[in-house]
């Protein structure tokens, strides 16, 4: 954490709330989350489907479709300026230029009708003052950087001529071609095989160091987070339930949900006999959640108060924050541990 404090804060999300109006009621997809991202840091956001991790990042990019979605509150400060107050017409100077994004499915995020070269050059020309020729040269350099062999020829191919892993490399090349300061990677390897996943993660890590880019990595895979991230936020039902640096989180998972999540993954390095640990029950329906801890129906350590009030965020020291009543009561004792 010390290193992060000395580094400049790039992005600060304060009490962000993104709601969706549906016929069945208001979906509080993201409900009051806050975090900071420093230069060169890799932040992981972990959660199950429907926990609001993707919506968080779409909100940062202001890509929430409205209606039905709406960012109803909070601030997103990028280098001190609130992105939410930037007029629509100026958003393009932020998207791609300062914050860029790679998506989960490399099969659908490239236009199948256009050559890779057209798509990459278009991106660069939109954001940077360059001639077409220079842009093409830059594209080829980027493709080389992400390890595409024979980039000079391959750039003139169509997306279907590339494999899934190669397409994800192209996406990364495009995302980094405008020297964005923050790269948001939304489940970048979920659609890929393990051996390809290892290649892509290695690449993201290497490029982030080389270009000093901050990375927000969204994933459901706890293994990916362990290898790549400096800090981790665990999300559940639209809220951050625990936030800590990676080592701390895995060594001392404090929220019962985080603890259960880490325990319920079968581990390669430890042979298990008998049963896996499992969190009983189903993830909650996020429509009209009651104002209490959303995890309490599945929690093994729930108390009376959990069913009545949302727990406050407690700092366990060293930036380890947890939203759970277990720690709220004996706040004095828990910091001594």
């Amino acid at each position: 954490m010390e290193t992060n404090e000395t580094r400049k804060t790039l992005l600060e999300v304060k009490d962000l709330r993104t709601y969706f109006k549906t016929d069945a009621g208001v979906v509080k997809a993201v409900d009051g989350i806050s975090f900071k991202l420093s230069q060169g840091e890799t932040l992981g956001i972990v959660g199950e489907s429907g926990s609001g991790k993707s919506v968080t990042n779409l909100s940062i990019m202001r890509l929430i479709q409205s209606p039905p979605g709406k960012i109803v509150g909070g601030e997103i400060l990028f280098e001190g300026d609130d992105i939410l107050k930037v007029p629509e017409s100026e958003l393009r100077s932020i998207r791609g230029n300062k914050i860029s994004m790679i998506f989960q499915d490399p099969m659908t995020s490239l236009n199948p009708f256009l050559k890779i070269s057209t798509q990459m050059v278009e991106t660069i020309l939109l954001h940077q003052d360059m001639s077409k020729k220079e842009a093409l040269k830059k594209s080829i350099d980027m493709l080389k950087l992400v390890g595409i062999p024979a980039a000079e020829e391959r750039i003139h191919s169509y997306p279907h001529q590339f494999s899934g892993g190669m397409r994800q490399r192209v996406m990364i090349a495009m995302a980094l071609s405008c020297e964005a300061k923050i790269l948001i990677a939304d489940e970048p390897t979920t659609a890929l095989d393990v051996t390809i996943q290892a290649q892509i993660l290695e690449l993201i890590q290497e490029l982030a160091q080389k270009l000093d880019t901050a990375v927000i990595l969204i994933t459901h895979d706890l293994g990916v987070v362990a290898g790549l991230c400096d800090t981790v936020c665990v999300m559940y039902a639209g809220k951050i339930v625990e936030k800590a640096n990676t080592d701390e989180l895995y060594a001392r998972p404090s929220h019962p949900y985080t603890d259960g999540l880490i325990k319920s993954v079968p581990r390669l390095d430890k042979a298990q006999n008998g049963k896996l640990f499992s969190i009983e029950g189903q993830p909650p329906n996020v429509i009209d959640l009651p104002p209490c801890c959303p995890f309490h129906p599945r929690c093994s350590r729930k108390m009376e108060i959990c069913t009545k009030q949302y727990p406050p965020v407690v700092d366990l020291g060293k930036g380890h924050e947890v939203a759970c009543w277990l720690y709220a009561e004996n706040k004095e004792n828990s910091t001594d541990e």
């Binding site: 494999s163 390809i196 390095d269 042979a271």
Partner: protein, 337 residues
């Protein structure tokens, strides 16, 4: 997983090949090639065990299962269940054998008919075999009704939900419906095609535990496919590693993870992330270069030749046979000759 007595093979697969023709021409179609999805594999599945098949996408794991259940007509080879070669069997015999061989599918959203109630879905196999008069003993309407309720209870669904439709359930619950349907006919062997890969981590462990319990209670045999190595290690007695339609290594699950022999298995194991940051940072990864080659070409050498870090001259022109290195461990690699 659990202690086994003397095992006898329940299912024997010998030199199974499944090629899909590639056709050209519009009116006068002719075959110009073949996708060699499964290209000569042999293995036994013993009674009461779980044989896991692991591999990347496109390696032929799902095709293997479909060829075994005769959803495709295999190109050549034999699949012997209980002394009966299913490929040459008459329709009546095949139907009878299939009663003992049921499938669970990957996508719990696509594998249940949205217009059928849970009751109809689970009762469907029973109804079909009742109509064919192949149920022993014959079941009355009431018997079927009772059986549905019993099955629902067994897989952890409330029997009051009998008349609901699949869209009213979450992913994990749908997978439970799929499992109940597979159990309806009291099968001996269950072919599970990635049953947990579409589920969230906390739900995944619930389903794995359920499958584990069912095996112990009902003495089921599983042929279990997954791409997640940790899941395979947890559930399997023995594991087969597939690559490009061939089995590369076959061994007891504990041996495979402690002592992988084939270079591909080694790479696969080292690429899988482990949810522990301390271990993860220290690990030495074998990163394979390139992608999986096309399965359309006939190969004369080792199928892994293009990506193998240890390739030798011999590998280029000779296909390595499966070689027993010890009683329970077989590998197809010239390094162990």
């Amino acid at each position: 997983m659990s202690e086994k007595e003397i095992k006898k093979p329940l299912l024997q697969v010998r030199d199974l090949k499944q090629h899909f023709p590639i056709e050209a021409g519009f009116i006068m179609k002719k075959q110009v090639g073949a996708v060699r999805a499964v290209d000569g594999i042999s293995f036994d599945v013993n009674e009461g065990e779980t044989l896991g098949i692991v591999g990347e996408s496109g390696c032929g794991k799902s095709t293997t299962i479909r060829s075994i259940s005769q959803l495709y007509t295999p190109t050549s080879g034999s699949v012997v269940y209980n002394g009966l070669d299913l490929i040459k069997a008459k329709r009546e015999e095949l139907l009878d054998a299939r009663k003992n061989m049921q499938m669970i599918f990957q996508d719990p959203y696509a594998s249940l008919d949205p217009r059928m109630t849970v009751r109809t879905i689970i009762a469907e196999p029973l109804e079909i075999y009742k109509k064919r008069r192949m149920l022993e003993p014959q079941m009355s309407k009431k018997d079927i009704e009772d059986r549905v309720e019993e099955l629902m209870e067994r897989v952890g669904l409330n029997r009051a939900f009998k008349n609901r439709y699949p869209h009213e359930f979450s992913g994990g619950q749908r997978q439970r419906i799929g499992i109940a349907r597979a159990l309806a006919l009291n099968p001996k062997i269950i072919l599970a095609d990635e049953p947990v890969s579409a589920l969230d981590v906390s739900i995944q462990s619930q389903i794995l535990n359920l499958l584990h319990d069912l095996q112990e209670e009902l003495g089921l045999t599983y042929l279990f496919i997954a791409h997640d190595l940790a899941v395979i290690e947890y559930i399997s007695t023995r594991v087969a590693v597939m690559y490009l339609g061939k089995i590369m290594e076959l061994s007891r699950s504990s041996d495979l993870y402690k002592n992988p022999l084939h270079p591909y298995t080694k790479a696969l194991l080292s690429a899988a992330p482990i949810p522990d940051p301390v271990i993860e940072r220290k690990r030495q990864r074998i990163i394979l270069t390139g992608d999986v080659p096309s399965p359309n070409v006939e190969r004369v050498g080792c199928y892994f030749y293009d990506r193998c870090p240890y390739k030798m001259e011999k590998c280029k022109t000779n296909i390595p046979p499966m070689k027993k290195v010890d009683e329970h461990h077989e590998v197809a690699c010239w390094l162990y000759e």
